[in-house]
């Protein structure tokens, strides 16, 4: 209740047991005052007053959520009550301004400051997510900066639209600020990882003073968020060398939650921070002797050398000629089977048959080789009867031993080499996004061609195609993805979106119907279907 007391000055206001000192701010979710309790005049609190607009339960959600949380990175709840049909929440008083204003005065953050910011926020989010709370509206205006001796302390505020995670979400949940909304939040399905996305957007903005996704209209912004990858940090910041931080930020800005850093705890771990650790900014600077790309290239060289050495060590005791034939046979067989898998039947069958033939020849040569060696020794005057059995026994033992050690090792190193090539390709596709879209599409296209079964790569390629207005090719890619994984919702949405953008409303509706038959709770398809139906003028 607000009232002016008769005995005190007319400017002094009281709200419940609190005496208002001054107004701090006003926003969509209410007015905030600096105040103190009548029994504790020396302790200032922030008093948030929210008018009841008909839904008291909704109003009470914020204090209910805050009462579950206690963390230095989250504004602390002291008390809350209903006063004259208004909700009054007494919060910890934070002597500072919001990050939006603070960063304007402070200027662009450097890598160490950004790391410190992300570490503190990740720790706060870890605490909130573990309590089942999603913030859903992380942005600079909702983060208060309190300057201290150990550097700035960042505190998350305004849990006005946050919610407690529930079971299966079957309807759209709106809310949030468009520029900071993750693709799934934009579609109405926020998760804990949506908070990580928003944190990534804020970190990107603090580093570059630019938003990773922009657009004149909401539609343009949505298209960027859903399908475009952000401009690489290195192309915006000339003296930025913290590749590891860049990787972490890109990791939070992955379109698919399954590919994104999966939890605040994992993010905190990647940032190298423990729970509630507070390291001075100067100590956070990680000296990197090599960039991530150089490290990856070094790994490739190591794996290649290891793979070749291991193969040579294996082939040594087996004697080179028959082993080479066997290896060539295996390679041909492998290529043949891959070609058949991709329905290149003629090439596949010829390679498979050729491979089998080479394997047979290799076997025959191997069988013939030792007798030939023995014959050669005999011709050279060596008593083979004496040494023959020993040679055969020794060779057999070494073949078995070396096969047990070096074959698995070669295979292991080869698979590592392949995985490393994939990583390098994906990284290049992200960093090549500095304007040369054709080059980015070329890299992704080549990878999608090579790694046909890798749906993460295919999806990135399809998204890039759609973002660059190549809907027809996006349709083909989405169909290829669905061929591999028929229930892939992301591919289904991509296909439906591509059809919709091409104006093929009937096809959009049929794709949406197919997915709604499988999972009716996926409201994303229902919404798109409705849009397509409206466009087509179909009477429901």
């Amino acid at each position: 209740m607000t009232m002016a007391t008769s005995t005190e000055s007319a400017t002094i206001e009281r709200i419940g047991p609190y005496i208002v000192e001054r107004k701090i701010g006003e926003g969509a979710h209410g007015t905030v005052y600096a105040a103190h309790h009548r029994d504790k005049p020396s302790t200032t609190v922030a008093l948030k007053v929210v008018e009841n607009r008909g839904n008291l339960d909704r109003l009470l959600l914020e204090p209910e959520i805050l009462s579950k949380l206690r963390h230095p990175g989250i504004v602390g709840l002291q008390d809350y009550f209903i006063d004259n049909d208004r909700l009054v929440v007494s919060l910890e008083f934070l002597n500072g301004g919001d990050l939006k204003a603070w960063s304007k005065a402070h200027g662009q953050f450097n890598a160490a400051e950004t790391r410190d910011f992300m570490r503190q926020m990740a720790s706060a989010l870890q605490h909130a997510h573990e309590a089942g709370v999603l913030h859903r509206d992380i942005k600079p205006a909702n983060i208060i900066v309190v300057e201290g001796r150990d550097g700035p302390r960042y505190v998350l505020t305004d849990f006005g639209i946050s919610r407690i995670s529930e079971g299966l979400q079957v309807s759209r949940k709106t809310g949030g600020t468009y520029h900071f909304m993750a693709p799934e939040q934009l579609r109405g399905r926020p998760t804990a990882q949506s908070d990580l996305w928003a944190l990534g957007v804020v970190a990107y903005q603090l580093l570059t003073s630019e938003l990773p996704f922009g657009g004149e209209t909401v539609k343009e912004l949505a298209a960027e968020v859903l399908y475009k990858s952000p401009v690489p940090l290195a192309s915006l910041l000339k003296d930025f060398h913290d590749d590891e931080l860049a990787e972490i930020i890109y990791g939070t800005l992955e379109k698919q939650p399954a590919n994104r850093i999966d939890s605040a705890a994992a993010l905190l771990q990647q940032l190298g921070g423990g729970h509630q650790t507070k390291t001075p900014v100067s100590q956070n600077v990680r000296v990197q002797a090599l960039t991530i790309d150089a490290q990856a290239q070094r790994k490739v060289r190591r794996y290649t050398v290891g793979c070749v050495m291991s193969a040579l060590l294996w082939s040594g005791p087996l004697l080179t000629i028959p082993t080479t034939i066997v290896l060539a046979g295996l390679w041909c067989f492998y290529q043949g089977q891959r070609a058949i898998f991709h329905r290149h039947l003629l090439r596949g069958s010829s390679f498979t048959l050729g491979g089998l033939l080479l394997l047979l020849i290799g076997y025959v040569v191997t069988q013939a080789f030792l007798p030939a060696v023995l014959a050669g020794l005999h011709a050279g005057g060596v008593d083979v009867n004496k040494f023959g059995s020993a040679i055969i026994l020794g060779s057999t033992i070494s073949i078995v031993l070396f096969s047990l050690i070096f074959v698995p090792l070669t295979v292991y190193l080869f698979s590592k080499l392949r995985a490393q090539h994939r990583e390098i390709g994906l990284r290049r596709a992200i960093t090549e996004n500095s304007g040369d879209t054709d080059k980015q599409l070329d890299i992704l296209g080549a990878m999608a061609q090579e790694l046909t079964e890798d749906l993460v790569v295919r999806q990135k390629y399809a998204e890039a195609l759609l973002a660059h207005g190549r809907q027809r090719e996006a349709v083909v890619e989405a169909k290829l993805m669905l061929n591999e994984d028929p229930y892939n919702m992301a591919a289904g949405l991509l296909l439906a979106h591509s059809y919709f953008e091409l104006g093929l409303n009937e096809l959009t509706i049929s794709v949406c119907d197919a997915f709604l038959d499988i999972a009716g709770y996926c409201f994303e398809f229902r919404e798109l279907r409705d849009l397509a139906s409206q466009s087509a003028g179909v009477v429901q």
């Binding site: 399954a258 891959r338 292991y412 229930y487 999972a519």
Partner: protein
């Protein structure tokens, strides 16, 4: 919710395997419980190579994923703990009976309780405890493909605490029940 896992060989029933298509994921991967469905990330063979395929799996597999809508899950079977793996079962019995044998030998001979009691503890307590410690439950998920055929994949969750495991299983069950309830509600409407 994402959980690292190690894939196991699926065990479809004879009837299902005649008409179905099991997914032979190899090695390590992850299972993600998303609202839209269960997503499995792992390595699938590009072609089937009988017997040798398991030895050269790293060469013939490729990283991929599969999505399983909760509404299409026919069965989610979680086998009991140590009984799930034949190898461990055999090892368990061998070690256990071996321990018991040693116990009897020590009792029959004149070694006395100083040897017999520790051996008894090893046989009846330590060996089962060690086996249980290293073993984890296997999940078998059978689902329906768009063609109507059945498919299955199997996995064991990577070492996590019992609490985390029960959170994962409960969440999976919750999502399945919610999807089923939604389908039922829709069909009534």
């Amino acid at each position: 919710m994402k959980q690292e896992c190690k894939f196991q060989i699926p065990r479809m029933s004879l009837w299902d395997s005649m008409f179905g298509r099991p997914l032979y994921f190899y090695g390590k991967g992850s299972v993600v419980l998303q609202d839209t469905g269960l997503m499995v990330h792992g390595d699938l063979p590009k072609f089937m190579l009988p017997f040798f395929g398991r030895f050269y799996a790293r060469l013939i597999t490729g990283r991929t994923m599969r999505t399983v809508p909760y509404s299409q899950v026919i069965r989610h079977k979680v086998t009991g703990r140590w009984v799930s793996i034949s190898f461990l079962k055999i090892l368990f019995f061998l070690l256990w009976f071996g321990g018991i044998g040693l116990l009897f030998m020590s009792v029959a001979s004149d070694l006395g309780p100083a040897v017999a009691i520790p051996l008894g503890i090893v046989a009846f307590v330590v060996i089962p405890a060690v086996i249980l410690m290293f073993d984890r439950a296997t999940h078998y998920i059978t689902y329906r493909l768009p063609s109507g055929k059945r498919s299955q994949f199997a996995f064991r969750l990577s070492p996590i605490s019992r609490d985390q495991m029960s959170i994962f299983v409960n969440r999976l069950n919750e999502l399945q029940s919610a999807a089923a309830a939604f389908e039922q509600r829709e069909s009534i409407q």
